[in-house]
């Protein structure tokens, strides 16, 4: 049994960054033995299925290591729809009516006193960054690209603007120019290195209400232009995706080998295609090799929770899916997730709060009091999700939340006028020591991309800059970094 390998060479990392990375407890790379390697070595290559001992060196993708280091930080996105109740600082004041700011804490720095809307999240010592806004340029054509739902959403999730080409405001057809934060991290060489989890990422959605049924409004995760990762919307589906591994692991290995023929077919087709469709098949090929890798892992999950019962109730669904996700994270089935509580511009009717119309319309009707109640409720649900992560303790004594760096945001700052100044930014978790918790940083008219770069640095990525098309920055909020 050989010692864990050092990370492969070839990935050039700046010296300072490497030193920084070394200071993190998970280290840049413990390579686990593949279970197949063990089987082959143990019984001369004959494929057999048997219960295997969990050797420490094999534990890589399944949790804490014997020496006390963990499997590394977890990156997550928590998204809720329709921003915050508007106030004058967002440009939400009209003649005669002044609405208070229920979001921005009065004091900055560590240990700030939480505002009304941040109160539920205070129990998890989240950090907030206030004052930020998108800085991307807005091309005049096609018209409508400044709409907060679309521009704010894209900048909050990708650091870039909407792709102007093919944008169509009337049919709400839009797409991203680049991967959203979750996918950027999931495919980043410095995040998983050469030991990705079984799933590079998992996308979850809770409310099924949607403003439009056009695909682009039902997902917050993109791999790139016209390449969406639609969320799993039902607890049973999430359960099956994460935990249903057939008993016959050897058969999975055969399916994995047969994927070679499928990939050959894709490559043969590519020669006939133009550049755009070649790129689509390239992406398909990447997916096939991920699926092949997963089939080839031929290992059961570390724990198989009972199959939940589907429910239409948002809170019940959130609870069920949070539990499943927490088990998956603890078993290191993935280290990247996005959770879309409500989709951009949601039509979800929060009838449990006595709100009679969809949230998007409620905002446009100027019903501030109802928006206040609704968004307070969404923050409570955010905190409820964090409860599950904070309540899941790992063998090392830390919690899942201690390992998380969670980007909590919405598509704009307020839904009355689709404003994008004073965007809501919540940063939750300790990122394995990469983040300080409970800090309020404020920069009026600051660049939203600066907070994103801060978060990427907190999980050990060496990005020199972040943001595109006017959003570029190389600054971070140093007070948030551990």
């Amino acid at each position: 049994m050989s010692a864990p390998k050092k990370p492969k060479g070839g990935r050039e990392v700046e010296k300072g960054v490497l030193e920084k990375a070394r200071s993190f407890p998970w280290g840049p790379g413990l390579k686990p033995l593949k279970r197949r390697t063990f089987l082959r070595g143990a019984v001369g290559g004959a494929a057999i299925g048997l219960a295997l001992p969990t050797l420490d060196a094999m534990l890589g993708p399944s949790g804490a290591h014997a020496d006390g280091t963990t499997a590394g930080p977890i990156f997550g996105v928590f998204f809720w729809a329709n921003g915050l109740p508007w106030h004058a600082g967002m440009g939400g004041e009209t003649a005669g009516v002044t609405y208070p700011d229920l979001w921005t804490p009065t004091a900055t720095g560590a240990g700030f006193a939480p505002s009304e809307l941040l109160m539920p999240l205070a129990r998890h010592r989240v950090s907030v960054v206030t004052g930020l806004e998108p800085k991307t340029e807005v091309p005049p054509n096609p018209p409508g690209q400044s709409d907060g739902h679309m521009r704010g959403f894209m900048v909050a999730m990708t650091g870039d603007r909407i792709r102007p080409e093919g944008f169509d405001h009337p049919s709400h057809t839009l797409t991203a120019l680049r991967p959203t934060l979750d996918q950027y991290v999931a495919r980043h060489a410095e995040f998983y290195g050469d030991q990705p989890s079984r799933f590079r990422s998992v996308q979850i959605g809770i409310s099924e209400a949607r403003f439009h049924d056009y695909g682009h409004w039902n997902a917050i995760s993109y791999n790139g232009p016209d390449s969406l990762n639609l969320p799993i919307l039902r607890p049973t589906q999430l359960h099956d995706q994460l935990f249903s591994v057939p008993d016959d692991l050897v058969a999975l290995g055969r399916r994995a080998r047969m994927m070679d023929a499928v990939m050959d077919d894709a490559r043969a087709l590519q020669t006939q295609l133009g550049a755009r469709d070649r790129a689509r098949l390239d992406e398909h090929l990447t997916h096939l090799s991920e699926i092949q890798r997963r089939l080839d892992l031929a290992a059961a999950t570390c724990e198989t929770p009972a199959r939940p019962v589907d429910s239409g109730d948002v809170t019940a669904k959130l609870d069920a899916m949070s539990e499943l996700l927490a088990i998956a994270l603890r078993c290191n089935l993935t280290r990247v997730f996005s959770l879309m509580l409500t989709s951009p511009a949601t039509t979800h009717v929060f009838s449990n709060l006595g709100v009679t119309d969809g949230l998007h319309k409620t905002c446009h009707d100027g019903l501030w009091d109802r928006v206040r109640v609704t968004q307070a409720h969404q923050m409570e649900l955010f905190a409820r999700f964090l409860d599950v992560l904070a309540g899941t303790t790992e063998p090392t004594g830390t919690t899942l939340l201690d390992r998380c760096a969670i980007w909590g945001t919405s598509e704009y700052s307020e839904g009355w006028k689709h404003g994008t100044s004073e965007m809501p930014v919540v940063i939750a978790g300790g990122a394995c020591g990469g983040l300080r918790t409970g800090v309020h940083a404020r920069e009026p008219r600051g660049n939203l991309c600066k907070a994103q770069l801060t978060l990427l640095r907190s999980i050990g990525l060496s990005e020199a800059s972040w943001g595109w098309n006017g959003g570029e920055t190389s600054d971070v909020f140093g007070e948030l970094l551990g």
Binding site: S171, G215, R255, M258, L281
Partner: protein
């Protein structure tokens, strides 16, 4: 009344020549202005040149239909990634969006599951395989690759391909014929050659410089357009004989396909997308507020539209403009109650034909529960949504987005109840809003007698309903007046042609195709606006059979 309506019709036609303040021109996705005013003469349009090829992945419906055609039914339930529908159409989503990793995984699992079920059933196994393999790579499995592969990939496989599939299954099966069969079929059913339709054309020997789709590509194009499934044996055989590059061959098979019940199913798919009916799935209403509302109501509403379409297009092969103007519909018991009509024979499940009389406020699809509920909010109507639907979906006009930072508040600081009409007046007072809302709201106001679920009402906010409005400056009293003018409006069939073309080609039309679209519209008119005839004309048209070359290798990805 009749005289008034004739007058309306005349004055409408006169106003058509003028352009709208807000939504006159229709621009393409690239921002190229497109000269397709339906009244412009065809010879002023640019010379026809085909658009480029698209790589369409099978939609969820196409995948399921195709699997049944290849493997028989029933098949075990499986999940697929939901389709996306940019610009309304699944076919555009299938040709432009990229599959996700989970989507690829679901294909892998669906294929495993379906093949396993079929191979476990002796009779179905024999019918799919045609022989019983005894060892991996044997002559039987070779024939399976050849024949099943041809059906699945909609073209014959090359010798190299046959060997590749066969060898891979032999290697992975580790000596077992049954495993080889399972691995082979399930791999072919997740192969890109099966999941994607590669249609790049070939040089047309009769027309130098022009590319036409090959016979096998045409077989798939005809079949997926007209049946929403894979070519049958007859169509594939015609393709093998290279008959689908001639006018006669294409016509013969298109006509044959249109005579089959599967064409009715596929046509419903088009109309559901064109009319954006999926939004019905998300309509929820509070029974306390709308006492007639039921759990099954949106399904009934959708069935009504499907029956109207089937009646118009297939049973009667009638003027499809009746969709917007005719008083004939189909109702079950709950729809009859919603509409306040007496429909003998209607029950929870039984729909009966019903003819609204001339004094009824209802006529055409825009007075059905489906349209009225889909374009309303849970607690109140939305003249803006309804007007926008008329502009964008029925007339194919482009309504620009609201300007930035405009005050969207229609609430009333005084607290006295006001009608929606009064509140919407603010749209007209603010010049920034008025530019577009002056086009959207007035046709939307015509529906104000129908509440948020489509029930007729006399009162709103304590006063009588005023449903007066206009279309392009022609004053109208109500939705019934609108139905009458839309049934004669030349923009309506031109819009239908454009939407069908998008659906059929899996992309937006390009500027050089305007002439082809116009020609289709003229044929459509000449045929008495019979939709079945339009499908046949389109399927046999040059625009459906020719393609621009693939962009040269090494070209930059447009992003």
């Amino acid at each position: 009344m009749h005289a008034l309506r004739t007058l309306l019709r005349l004055s409408l036609l006169l106003t058509l020549a003028g352009s709208l303040a807000c939504s006159g021109s229709i621009d393409g996705p690239t921002g190229e202005p497109r000269d397709d005013d339906p009244l412009d003469p065809i010879d002023r349009l640019p010379e026809y040149a085909p658009g480029g090829p698209v790589l369409a992945r099978l939609t969820g419906d196409q995948y399921r239909n195709t699997l049944v055609d290849l493997l028989g039914s029933p098949l075990p339930a499986f999940e697929l990634e939901p389709d996306t529908a940019p610009y309304l159409f699944f076919h555009i989503g299938a040709a432009s969006t990229t599959l996700s990793e989970r989507g690829a995984q679901l294909y892998e699992e669906a294929a495993q599951k379906a093949v396993e079920a079929v191979l476990a059933d002796a009779a179905r196994r024999a019918s799919v395989l045609g022989c019983e393999p005894t060892a991996p790579g044997d002559a039987c499995l070779r024939s399976v690759v050849e024949s099943f592969g041809r059906r699945a990939f909609r073209r014959p496989l090359s010798e190299a391909e046959i060997s590749r599939w066969l060898d891979a299954s032999t290697e992975a099966a580790e000596g077992d014929a049954g495993r080889a069969t399972q691995l082979l079929l399930s791999a072919m059913l997740q192969a890109p050659s099966f999941l994607y339709r590669v249609e790049v054309g070939e040089a047309d020997p009769a027309n130098e410089g022009r590319r036409r789709y090959t016979s096998h590509e045409m077989a798939a194009r005809l079949s997926y357009l007209l049946w929403n499934t894979t070519p049958d044996a007859e169509l594939l055989a015609a393709a093998d004989r290279n008959e689908l590059v001639t006018d006669e061959g294409v016509f013969e098979h298109a006509a044959r396909l249109l005579d089959d019940a599967r064409a009715r199913r596929a046509t419903q798919q088009f109309f559901a997308q064109y009319l954006d009916l999926r939004r019905l799935d998300h309509v929820e209403r509070d029974v306390a507020r709308y006492p007639g509302w039921t759990e099954t109501m949106t399904r009934s509403m959708r069935s009504e539209i499907e029956l109207v379409v089937d009646d118009l297009v297939f049973r009667r092969d009638a003027d499809v403009r009746e969709l917007f103007g005719a008083p004939r519909t189909f109702v079950n018991a709950e729809l009859a109650a919603l509409y306040g009509i007496d429909a003998p024979g209607a029950s929870d499940v039984a729909f009966v034909p019903y003819e609204f009389d001339a004094s009824s406020p209802r006529a055409g699809v825009l007075t059905t529960g489906a349209f009225l509920a889909m374009n309303a909010h849970p607690t109140e109507t939305s003249p803006t949504l309804r007007g926008k639907f008329v502009r964008e979906r029925v007339l194919c006009q482009t309504v620009p987005p609201p300007p930035d930072n405009v005050n969207l508040d229609l609430s009333d600081p005084s607290g006295t109840p006001r009608t929606l009409r009064e509140r919407l007046e603010q749209h007209r007072r603010n010049p920034e809003c008025a530019a577009c809302h002056a086009d959207i709201d007035p046709p939307g106001m015509l529906f104000e007698h129908f509440d948020s679920v489509g029930v007729w009402r006399e009162e709103e906010a304590g006063g009588p309903v005023d449903s007066s409005g206009d279309l392009d400056g022609v004053p109208l009293d109500d939705a019934r007046d609108l139905a009458i003018v839309l049934a004669e409006d030349p923009r309506v069939p031109a819009c239908m042609v454009k939407q069908l073309f998008r659906h059929a080609s899996g992309r937006l039309e390009v500027a050089s195709e305007a002439r082809a679209l116009r020609a289709l519209t003229e044929h459509f008119e000449a045929s008495g606006y019979r939709f079945r005839e339009l499908l046949l004309t389109l399927a046999t048209s040059e625009a459906f059979r020719t393609v621009a070359p693939v962009e040269p290798v090494g070209a930059e990805v447009e992003e």
